[in-house]
């Protein structure tokens, strides 16, 4: 009996200790929240860092809700600026640019050659959801080029750019709007078609104000902005500011 009582007491102590993260200066503990389109290049650049790749909007929500992130890198200025204005993020700096393209599966089942073909009957198009940077860029390009009827052929609004690329790679969608870097990363599985107009796509990076690994966070931002980062970004198909 006594032993059981102690067991409960021990369980209580364990339970009350959970949740409190011990601060650590080790760079391995660094957590970077980054736009899904940065997946390949960031993983190659810093293999030891813990990454959370998702739609920039989702990541911003998580940071606002108190997720323990040290660095935030987004696929557009909107969310970093919002977070900075609300005091969650330190002054974000642009470290890369990107281009939006149309991608089709390698066998191009719907015979897409230009943006105009996307509005044809029965073409199945996948784009990013509203509020997800790639989705907002897609909508603005379709609007400025007068090709809004393409939106009628959208069969799914994905929560991040990798979701768009994945459904085109599998062939279940006939076409999708992604960044040129995602097309590059997919290799032979995707064929990219250039757009007649380009939105300005900038990637800002900033240190999360509540970061407990400030030093390591600074180091990561310097790595991305520095020569090594620029080379990796260029190799992945990004533009440089």
């Amino acid at each position: 009996m006594r032993r059981l009582g102690w067991l409960f007491a021990a369980a209580l102590i364990v339970a009350s200790c959970g949740g409190g993260d011990a601060p650590s200066d080790e760079p391995e503990a660094l957590t970077v929240f980054a736009a899904a389109s940065l997946t390949e290049v960031f993983q190659e650049l810093a293999p030891n860092v813990t990454f959370n790749f998702a739609g920039s909007d989702e990541l911003a929500t998580q940071i606002r809700e108190g997720a323990s992130a040290d660095v935030y890198a987004a696929a557009g200025p909107r969310y970093p600026e919002e977070l900075a204005a609300q005091g969650f993020l330190e002054a974000p700096q642009v470290f890369a640019t990107n281009r939006l393209v149309v991608v089709v599966p390698a066998d191009n089942p719907a015979g897409i050659e230009s943006v105009d073909d996307l509005a044809a009957d029965g073409v199945r198009v996948v784009i990013g959801a509203e509020g997800v940077p790639v989705g907002d860029y897609t909508r603005s390009v379709l609007e400025t080029t007068g090709a809004e009827d393409v939106l009628d052929n959208v069969v799914s609004n994905e929560e991040d750019v990798k979701g768009v690329a994945g459904k085109v790679v599998s062939g279940d969608a006939d076409a999708g709007f992604v960044y040129i870097t995602d097309a590059t990363a997919a290799g032979d599985d995707l064929r990219a078609i250039e757009l007649p107009a380009q939105p300005l796509i900038e990637y800002p990076i900033g240190i999360v104000t509540a970061s407990e690994n400030y030093h390591a966070a600074e180091g990561f931002v310097e790595l991305v902005l520095g020569e090594e980062g620029r080379q990796a970004l260029r190799a992945a198909g990004f533009g440089l500011p």
């Binding site: 009996m1 009582g5 409960f8 339970a15 929500t61 069969v155 609004n157 929560e159």
Partner: protein, 274 residues
């Protein structure tokens, strides 16, 4: 010593209850009832409700219409490999939803096992409303079939035999004896399958995609709205908590309710033949 033990039990119960219930309470406390109602009547929420209801009803009809006879067969027939079949039917029950999604794509996807043939006939299932129905059937059916097998197995074989000796055909025996006697279990299984189907997320987002008014069910709408309009996400979440609570109450109350009515059915079933 005894008191320490009792105290430990009470503390553990308190911890478990707090951990399980506080998140749901927090959901309801996050917005006011007025905001909740407002968010629930937004176009996104109503569309999601409609998509969930429509695909859920179609899927549920399939589950009941095919699952009931299949469960009766598996419960009453004795043959080699029956145990293996029952286990295989239950497999999706423990399968991670993402695996369900990629498996459905592997079968129905444009480059899938069946998908290529379907594609040749101009039929595409992924990223359509039909895909939502299939995903729901796939994940929810085992919940019903498993429960239905157990319910049919629980029917006293003597009553089946009596019905047969009195001249009722197997089909009539199934309809007038087995079905009413198993009904409470079938109802509970049906409610559980409905709950699992309503909550389906992983397989749907992979196999059916997310398009408002077409494939965006309530769980998908929560995910999509979380950063666009958190109020809507919270409101849909709160609604789903209430729906789930209703289902749970139904599962708890159905057996005691039908025990009463099916008792009268036993008496009337054999003499009810004209």
């Amino acid at each position: 010593m005894r008191r320490a033990f009792e105290l430990g039990l009470a503390v553990a119960t308190g911890l478990a209850l707090a951990f399980l219930l506080l998140p749901m309470l927090a959901l309801f406390l996050r917005i006011s009832p007025a905001e909740l109602l407002d968010a629930l009547t937004s176009e996104v929420a109503l569309d999601a409700l409609w998509v969930s209801l429509k695909t859920g009803l179609i899927a549920h009809a399939f589950v009941l219409l095919v699952g009931t006879p299949a469960a009766y067969f598996l419960a009453t027939k004795r043959f080699r490999g029956r145990g293996v079949l029952v286990t295989l039917v239950e497999l999706p029950l423990v399968l991670p939803p993402a695996v369900a999604g990629i498996a459905l794509l592997a079968l129905f996807g444009r480059r899938g096992l069946l998908g290529e043939t379907l594609d040749a006939f101009g039929i595409q299932i992924p990223l359509t409303q039909a895909a939502v129905v299939l995903a729901v059937v796939f994940v929810a059916a085992p919940f019903y079939i498993r429960q239905a097998i157990a319910s049919f197995e629980g029917v006293d074989p003597a009553l089946i035999d009596a019905s047969r000796t009195l001249g009722a055909s197997p089909a009539r025996t199934f309809r007038r004896v087995a079905l009413p006697l198993a009904s409470s279990g079938l109802g509970a299984g049906s409610a559980l399958a409905w709950a699992r189907g309503t909550g389906e997320f992983g397989a749907t987002i992979m196999f059916a995609g997310s398009l408002q008014g077409v494939t965006q069910t309530m769980p998908l709408a929560i995910y999509a709205q979380l950063d666009l309009d958190p109020d809507v996400a919270i409101a849909i979440g709160a609604l789903l908590v209430l729906v789930s609570l209703t289902v749970l109450l139904a599962v708890k109350l159905l057996p005691s309710w039908t025990r009463f009515t099916s008792a009268s059915l036993i008496r009337s079933a054999p003499s009810g033949s004209s």
